[in-house]
């Protein structure tokens, strides 16, 4: 029970030097606050992305240009493959989409192409992206609900009709609610707005704006705007049966290999996409957290210097304790307990600060930071480690003091 006595003594001693103790814990407090806030913001973003990916549809399979290795061993190194593959748009063709549609287990297929040009009206230009696709995109992906008008159908394949999200409306038409029937310019051509998109309910807050900032035209019109090139970024595929997704992926791969080399394309499921995105976010969060953790080391040095001061100030007390029968180990333990108490106090204050930061982030942004119990336990355990590590040297110095010399000082 001497341990409880030592903890009590540690608190009394630290309280006696309140200001000094406070400055000692500030470093750890800031470090822990930064680490917990960044990890929880990272978790919040990851959760949001997951919600978005899960919300785009069920049994979704995506065919991309470029090779992405999603196996565990190579994933982190090559998750993105060559970024140029994603934007080249010269590998995937409409023929691929049409052939995939015939593969067993495939319910619907929709290629997605980016069309060049911008949407303009009365000298105003919208920053929205123009996407060319098949009307079947509605059967493959969710998130294309219509608020006003209608979605593209087969009759629009060669018509200059366009479906727009909220951003186009806001940027070009201001407060006007229903803009169906209005005309906009895309390149040199006039397009008629035939539908307005609804903001999808299932999308994560962070990425819901993507749905608001797109405009959709037919694949034929996109090809025309691209000067005859397909410029397909990806082909979205919906599998008929959720239990057959893996087999369908395999069949699509075999089908694609009839026209392409193995390293020209990737066939990913929603799960692969989630893993990939989670991995990237985790990697980024870890990197940023590691930088924040440096401040913990600085905090540890602060604790160490305060403990050295404490040992110097209390040399006579150390002498008294030794004269009364305290062993060197007990003296060392006493100062280590003080150092750990300082670090854990810093950690606890840091946790409170992180929760406050999270509240602000939650209130002011679309991110919902998520603090898990494991993160809190890990952070406080890390604080204890910092306390032990940086308290070791001052505690050893206290323990090694000669009692007679110590009694002469002070």
């Amino acid at each position: 029970m001497i341990f409880i006595w030592l903890i009590k003594e540690a608190f009394v001693s630290l309280w006696r030097h309140k200001l000094r103790s406070f400055f000692a814990v500030v470093g750890v407090m800031v470090g822990i606050a930064a680490v917990i806030a960044l990890v929880s913001i990272g978790k919040g973003v990851e959760k949001d992305v997951k919600k978005t990916v899960e919300g785009v549809g069920t049994n979704l399979i995506v065919v991309l240009s470029g090779k992405i290795d999603t196996s565990q061993s190579n994933f982190n190194q090559s998750a993105m493959g060559n970024p140029a593959n994603f934007i080249s748009g010269d590998i995937l063709k409409r023929q691929d989409a049409d052939e995939i549609a015939k593969v067993e287990g495939v319910k619907a297929v929709a290629p997605i192409a980016l069309a060049s040009g911008s949407i303009r009206r009365d000298g105003q230009t919208s920053t929205s992206m123009i996407m060319g696709t098949y009307p079947q995109i509605k059967d493959v992906m969710t998130g294309f609900s219509i608020r006003y008008g209608r979605f593209l159908d087969d009759s629009d394949s060669n018509k200059q009709n366009i479906v727009v999200g909220d951003f186009v409306k806001e940027q070009l038409f201001g407060d006007k609610d229903n803009i169906v029937g209005e005309k906009v310019m895309v390149g040199k051509d006039e397009f008629e707005i035939i539908g307005q998109l609804e903001k999808p309910k299932d999308a994560g807050a962070l990425f819901s704006s993507d749905y608001e900032s797109i405009a959709i035209i037919s694949m034929g019109e996109a090809k025309r705007l691209n000067g005859g090139a397909d410029k397909i970024l990806r082909i979205a595929v919906s599998a008929k049966d959720s239990t057959d997704v893996s087999a369908t992926v395999e069949r699509i791969k075999q089908n694609m290999l009839l026209r392409h080399k193995d390293d020209e394309f990737s066939v990913l499921t929603q799960e692969d996409l989630l893993d990939m995105i989670s991995s990237i976010i985790s990697l980024l969060t870890t990197a940023v957290t590691a930088i924040a953790a440096i401040s913990l080391i600085v905090g540890g040095i602060g604790i160490s210097s305060v403990m050295f001061m404490s040992v110097a100030d209390r040399t006579r007390e150390i002498g008294i304790r030794k004269a009364l029968g305290a062993t060197s180990v007990l003296i060392m333990f006493q100062f280590l307990v003080e150092s750990v108490v300082l670090a854990v106090l810093g950690g606890a204050l840091g946790l409170v600060l992180a929760l406050a930061v999270n509240e602000v982030v939650d209130a002011k942004t679309v991110i919902e930071p998520s603090v898990t119990v494991s993160v809190v336990i890990l952070a406080l355990a890390f604080c204890m480690g910092v306390g032990v590590l940086f308290g070791l040297l001052p505690a050893a110095r206290a323990a090694m003091k000669d009692p007679v010399e110590a009694l002469r000082q002070g």
């Binding site: 009394v12 007390e317 030794k322 004269a323 009364l324 029968g325 062993t327 009692p403 007679v404």
Partner: protein, 226 residues
């Protein structure tokens, strides 16, 4: 006549300090000393005579350069130094000049500290500390910090702390050094009273009035007993 129990015995005790790289100072030059149970001895002598060094050696705070020490018949120079702290806590009570109470602890906690270091349970140490402080008239000051106590009260707390483990001997180093004459007399009277109930006491003092109150005076000079 029954043979008297020897509490402390020193034989040819020497202590040499190193000053700088090549200089050495002989603080003790072969001291032979015996202290019987229930003795009250005052060790006197000028500054630098070696009396404090002698007290540190017999108090097991330092090891001698040569010579032997027996405490309660056990030859301490043969015992591992690792066991000194526990031995000190159980058998030796210290009363220092300037009280040397720990400022962050209350009077009761200061007294309990020695008990805790000797392995006493928290409850036993607390009960014992309360009993001793009450005996010394400090029942109302138990939960006060040292800076809330007078000099005399602080020294009484220090004596209570020295007594909590019922030590074989109390070593008092200038216990009246920072007290006025009235309080000094009170403290020495307390020590005398303890001695009359069988407590062995060795006191180091400059004060001849205090020394005269001991049963026996031993004088030291140049690291020797004269």
């Amino acid at each position: 006549m029954a043979k008297k129990e020897i509490v402390i015995k020193a034989k040819d005790l020497q202590k040499t300090y190193r000053l700088g790289r090549r200089n050495y100072v002989n603080a003790l030059n072969g001291v032979d000393f015996e202290l019987e149970k229930s003795d009250f001895v005052a060790l006197v002598g000028p500054s630098g005579s070696g009396k404090s060094t002698f007290m540190h050696l017999v108090g097991l705070l330092q090891a001698p350069s040569a010579g032997k020490i027996w405490i309660k018949g056990e030859e301490m120079t043969k015992v591992s130094k690792r066991s000194y702290p526990r031995f000190r806590a159980e058998h030796i009570g210290f009363v220092f000049q300037g009280f040397n109470l720990i400022p962050t602890l209350t009077a009761k906690e200061n007294v309990m500290l020695s008990g805790r270091y000797a392995g006493m349970s928290h409850r036993l140490a607390r009960d014992h500390a309360e009993e001793l402080l009450a005996k010394f008239g400090l029942q109302d000051r138990m939960n006060h910090k040292p800076d809330e106590l007078s000099g005399g009260q602080q020294q009484r707390v220090a004596i209570a702390r020295a007594l909590i483990n019922s030590p074989a001997i109390i070593l008092a180093d200038e216990p009246t050094g920072e007290l006025d004459s009235k309080t000094s007399r009170e403290v020495v009277e307390m020590l005398k009273e303890l001695n009359s109930s069988g407590q062995t006491i060795l006191i180091v003092t400059h004060n001849t009035e205090v020394a005269k109150m001991a049963k026996k005076i031993v004088e030291m000079k140049d690291g020797r007993i004269v």
